[in-house]
Amino acid sequence: MVDTAALAPAIRWANSKALEILLQGDPVLIDVLPAKDLIPELKEHTILHAGPPIEWDRMCGPMRGAVAGVAVFEGWARDLDEAGVQASKGCFDFHPNHHFSAVGPMTGLTTCSQPLLVVENRATGNRAYCTVNEGLGKVMRFGGNDESVRDRLAWIRDSLGPALGSALQCCGGIPLRPLVARGLTMGDEMHQRNVACSSLLLRELAPALASVVADHGDLSEMLAFMGSNDQFFLNIAMAMGKSIMDPVRNIEQSTVVTAMTRNGTDFGIRISGLGDEWFTAPVEMPAGLYFPGFSAADANPDMGDSTIVETIGLGGFAMAAAPAVAGFVGAGSVAEAAGITARMREITLGEHPEWTIVSENYQGVPTGIDIRLVVETGIVPTINTGIAHREPGIGQVGAGVVKAPMACFEKALRALGERLGIS
């Protein structure tokens, strides 16, 4: 017989523990290393992807395009057509990034030779990984796969990645908690606006980069690449989010969300009290603004592991800190941006003590999503997102806002009820 009177206090204790671990997270960007050196399971023909588990036959267009591109990039196929045939014959092993302490934006593909950013959570000792941001325009994370995309990936693998790794070792790593705190006061929300954090990072990294890259031409190219990419910090913020949330997993009876992610077909969440089980539902279409020449008819459903930043209280949860992004993603006025953050406070258990919002009298960003509050209030997480073209090989066509599907949270709540013997 279940003692239902004891459940609420037990959940309260479990959630306070989860929130404590989350808020104490102390992420430091320490290195950039080849994926195969960080993830031993990442062998030839193994591809990690964004979102919950999915196989080739259910993958969306841009995900398939990126798979074909990365297979050619890794030398597993001579061209995109051959790569597609191989994929359809089951020649590749697909697994979620999340199963290997990793995350990836949009299609989020991670393969053995790609360099990965390494973020260490100094409070808990765990590490998390993410690929280096490729820049804007036609890129693999949005399904781009032509020669220019693959050449850029090769340059990141052979030049930029090793240089970044050496520079980070040279400077002893870059603490991210204070950097993000400063970025929030400068108008970033760390999902669709990373202008401030990318600039702050470059300012810290440039001297070390200059000391480890001997060739001035190479150094100039690297600084120009990072300096011209407003979203360079996004991938770092994602690895940071993963390093903060992984230690929150597996706290018995906790109702705190530890991961939200999407693969362009399904949206999936995990909650602390139910370990590594995924709760999925069909992913929704973003509502947003489109680049000239594109419209909603071109858009792919929502995609990417980048929702890890919302999971820790940034992105859409910190919309009030970034009024400029509200216009960019079509979310409306400054007042509406503040309203989105206010609604996220209704479904979260606490506020970050250092990541504060100036326009809200230095109130902390809302963090620690509780599935009970989501289901009770009917308020689902709001996510800022890029929008990929639904066809392979084209790339980004816009940016917008999307809602997490309520069904994920309802399924998780029912499953927790079953685990606790009260369903």
């Binding site: 459940l7 009970r372 009820g417």
Partner: protein, 75 residues
């Protein structure tokens, strides 16, 4: 907005007092708290009526099973 659940207790001895309150309500300018659908508040506001809107909806969207589950798991 999250609301605390409350209980209303009626008492027949209060009938004269309730009558006075009702009379006052009918004779004075209305002041309205609107729960749920915002359109009612919008219409009242357009008629220059004092109105406060509360963004409320039934717990779990009215799903009885989920609401029962929530009641056992909630603080």
């Amino acid at each position: 907005m999250r609301l605390m659940r409350s209980t209303v207790v009626s008492n027949q001895n209060d009938s004269p007092a309730i009558g006075r309150v009702c009379a006052e309500l009918l004779q004075s300018r209305p002041r309205v708290i609107n729960l749920g659908l915002a359109v009612f508040a919008t219409d009242l506001d357009a008629q220059d009526v004092d109105v406060v809107h509360v963004d409320w909806r039934p717990p779990a969207g009215g799903d009885e099973d989920l609401a029962r589950l929530l009641s056992m798991l909630a603080d």
